[in-house]
Amino acid sequence: MEKIILLIFMAVLLFSDESVISKCNECHSYSPTPSYKKIHKHYLLKYSSKIRVKQAMIGFLKAPSLEKSEMSNGMKKRLKPENHTIFDDKTIEKAVIYIIEKEDIQKRFKKIS
């Protein structure tokens, strides 16, 4: 019984949205790495639409480089992004979708009644 519960728990953990970015969180939960909100805002400022932001994020994560990075120069020097990907394509896409949906501007906007 305990085994079954443990398996279900593992499966939920594995396929839940949060689990998608668990690997990312290993770094992004700690300072000075920027939060997802901040990263998303950086991309929004340059790419505007969801599709373009998604393409740019995936593009960077699949082949990270200093040139492609949207970080400020200071951050680039400090954090030095990897020059090779550390995730598979599927994970990257899921993680990016998760972040974009979570930080979706449309959902965050509210009207004053």
Binding site: L44, L45, S48, S49, K50, I105, F109
Partner: protein, 387 residues
Amino acid sequence: MFASEKSSLYRFLLIYIGSSLFLVAIGLVIFFNYEKHRLIDFQNSLIKVQSAVLVSELRELHKSKEHEIIYPKHSEFSSAIYDIDKNYIFGDFHPNSPSLDKEFYQKNNILFYVQKIYPYYLGTAYIIVQKSLDDKPIISVKTRLIIGFVIVIFFITLIAYWLGKLFLSPMRNSITLLDNFIKDTTHELNTPVSTILTNAELLKDFYPELENSKELGRIESASKRLSRIYDDLAYLHLNHKRHYNIEQVDISEFLKKRIDYFKTIAKAKQIQLTYNIDESVLLNIDKEDITRIVDNLLGNALKYTLPNGKVELVLTNEYLSIKDNGIGIDKAVKDEVFQRFTRANKSEGGFGLGLSIVVDIVKYYNFDIELQSQVKKGTKVSILWKK
């Protein structure tokens, strides 16, 4: 005021007022459009300022660390934001098929302003701001222009009337002079012409041997011609003052009497005057008017037919026609012969009044007149009674 003076004044007023108002109206329309665009441009510039305020608010919101973003609301205008792919992000209104490529546009009294922004704060690439057009200043301009236009109409009409009177005064003086001349001439002609005619007839009665006298015939013919001129002038002068006495007239009998009257003239010029008159052709007409028609048409036919020529008169229930084989009328002046003081041929004397009087009478009784003529072949004038 004379009829001709009145019609000239009306025509002048129509042309002067019409053209002046047309020009003023064009000016006012141009001015109104200029003012309207100026007022709309002013309102557009206000929207532009409001849009700039919105951009700075979005910039601040972009910096905010709050997860929930309160969309900036303004009472004076509504706005909406779009991403670079023209997808609607958010707004306090959701326009249907907005035109994001034009900077300013207007739809049903609503002004729209589209601003492209970069960097894309919160993903915003386009801001569209809408504001209802405040048309009060435009209506105010329109009202003032309409009032101005009415005042202009009033003054233009006054000036036009004054100018018209001023310009027509020489014509009025000429007409008065001519009128007085005709009045005096007719008055002075009446007595001597009547005396000559009466005495010529008396001479024939007292001295039967003079019945065929050529000299007496010429005196009679010339005085009859003078008499007809007098009658035309008197008709012209008194026409607008006279009282119409319309009665049933036996035109057949009447014509026979007038032919007798003209026989002397025909004889003097050795013209063959023939006629074919249907019996009992009756018309409701003033005798003076039918006299003027017959005397003028027959008189002209005899006047413009050369000696040994032929004049033929036909009367039926439908028409009266007088045909001659005289000198005819040139095609170029055919339409002008019905105008007053116009003579197609100046070889003979006269004032050019006859046919214009005939046309006036024809119009008054709603008859029709037809003129067929060929130079050197003759003329045929027909009056269709159109009963």
